[in-house]
């Protein structure tokens, strides 16, 4: 999927995260993660994010995440929502996300 505009999903509240997606200047995929639990779960959070982006075939775009200790399933859901908005997509092959 192609990121064509800026979009956000999620909140800043505890156990949630805010995902910001924007077109990239360089045509690369740049992921920035800030988390209150980066030391304990940084690797796991990054995996959930990159795996979700891979499944949506997002190969370029800026993804900035402000995590407040969200569970993996929440991270995946928020990343999906932000990407769909940023791609202006109405339809989604849900099977690809499982």
């Amino acid at each position: 999927m192609k990121v064509i505009k800026e979009a956000i999903a999620g909140t800043l509240e505890s156990s949630d995260l805010l995902v910001k997606v924007a077109p990239s200047h360089k045509g690369t995929r740049e992921i920035v993660i800030r988390s209150e639990v980066i030391k304990q779960f940084g690797k796991q959070i990054r995996h959930a994010v990159t795996d979700t982006l891979d499944k949506l075939s997002v190969s370029d775009g800026s993804i900035v995440i402000e995590d407040k200790g969200a569970l993996d399933c929440v991270i995946r859901a928020r990343v999906q929502a932000a990407v769909l908005r940023a791609c202006g997509s109405q339809e989604l092959d849900w099977g690809r996300l499982s």
Binding site: E6, I8, T11, L12, E13, S14, L18, V32, V64, K68
Partner: protein, 352 residues
């Protein structure tokens, strides 16, 4: 404590009855109501306004929470609501000002400090990487040399005065970086102002023309600049704009000198020039000082050339006298756009 309460958005003009309550909540937090706020997020509990956050384009202002209700959950809900509201209005890159002691509070909102006027104010943005990415793009325009000059122009519109300033700086330095103020808040649009500057500096070889950005004289860095008619000059805000230039833009391009014209007419710009020496050159900072060079304004028949005067002549369609103040490229543009045949009452209203 619970975070329950009704969150809703409100435009000041639609609910004058709420403005008194918001003013009181802000006053209890040593803040003033800012009349540039376009829309508020409010939280009401049992009829009482307990939290507010305002949005002026892409700057968050007037954030307050009733003292008895302070705690993580209400604050983070308020932050989420205002970020969401901004996104709905097409604004994703946001800024805010905070007292230094409230910095941790806004870190919780996903904001990161950019520059600080010690003990007074911190400017923050809602990205941990945006300023670095901006500086990275600037560094690609870095040019070698011992003396590298920078000029920021609003050029509303570009005059022979601007041309003179640019020539002086280009002649005295190895390279000159010119920035055009990017905000669409002047009589001439950013696109038109940029085109006229580009045409006016075309034959100067040691010059790079840069687009404006939120980090250079924008509504976020220097809101007072766009409120000239009210003659409100807020020094702390000029300081923020100048510290951004000194600590990020200057080092990214290796700028050693900032050139500026003397300002006999315009109070805001005049005070800004005075602040320049202080914040670019004298104030303590991790970044090296940038020498401010004030160039006496070019004059015609003893009268300094100013864009203000050009706009005055334009309101009268006095192209003959304008010819003395602007380069041919600007004159041709103005004649094309504002000559009697092309004029409309709407245009007159914009320029007057």
């Amino acid at each position: 404590m619970s975070a329950t309460g009704d969150f809703y958005t409100m435009q000041p003009k639609d609910a004058p009855q709420d403005m008194g309550d918001i003013g009181k909540l802000l006053a209890a937090n040593d803040l003033e109501l800012d009349n540039q706020v376009e829309v508020f997020v409010l939280c009401r509990q049992q009829g009482r306004i307990v939290a507010c956050a305002g949005l002026d384009h892409y700057t968050i202002k007037c954030v307050a929470i009733a003292e008895d209700l302070r705690g993580e959950s209400l604050s983070l809900r308020l932050g989420s609501e205002v970020v969401k509201l901004a996104a709905e209005r097409g604004q994703y890159h946001l800024f805010l000002y905070s007292a230094p002691h409230n910095l941790p509070f806004f870190r919780g909102w996903g904001f990161y400090p950019l520059v600080e006027v010690p003990q007074l104010v911190v400017m923050m943005e809602n990205s941990p990487v945006a300023i670095e990415r901006y500086c990275h793009r600037l560094r690609e325009q870095h040019r070698p040399g011992r003396q590298i000059a920078g000029i920021v122009l609003n050029a509303n519109p570009f005059t022979l005065g601007h041309r003179y300033l640019v020539e002086q700086a280009a002649a005295a330095c190895d390279w000159l970086h010119v920035f055009v103020v990017g905000e669409d808040a002047s009589s001439f649009s950013y696109a038109d102002r940029f085109t006229l500057v580009a045409a006016g500096v075309k034959n100067i070889d040691n010059l790079t023309l840069h687009p404006g950005s939120e980090y250079i004289i924008s509504r976020a860095t220097f809101p007072g600049y766009f409120l000239k008619e009210k003659a409100i000059v807020d020094h702390s805000w000029a300081a923020i704009d100048l510290l951004l230039f000194r600590e990020y833009i200057g080092p990214a391009l290796g700028i050693t000198h900032r050139y500026v014209g003397t300002e006999p007419f315009d109070l805001v710009t005049n005070a800004y020039n005075a602040d320049m020496r202080r914040w670019l050159q004298q104030a303590a900072s991790a970044a090296p000082p940038i020498t401010v060079v004030e160039v006496p304004r070019a004059s015609i028949d003893g009268t300094p050339i100013s864009a203000t005067e050009v706009r005055r002549l334009l309101a009268r369609r006095d192209f003959t006298r304008m010819r003395q103040l602007v380069p041919d490229t600007t004159l041709q543009f103005l004649e094309r756009k504002f000559s009697v045949a092309a004029s409309s009452t709407q245009m007159k209203g914009q320029i007057a």
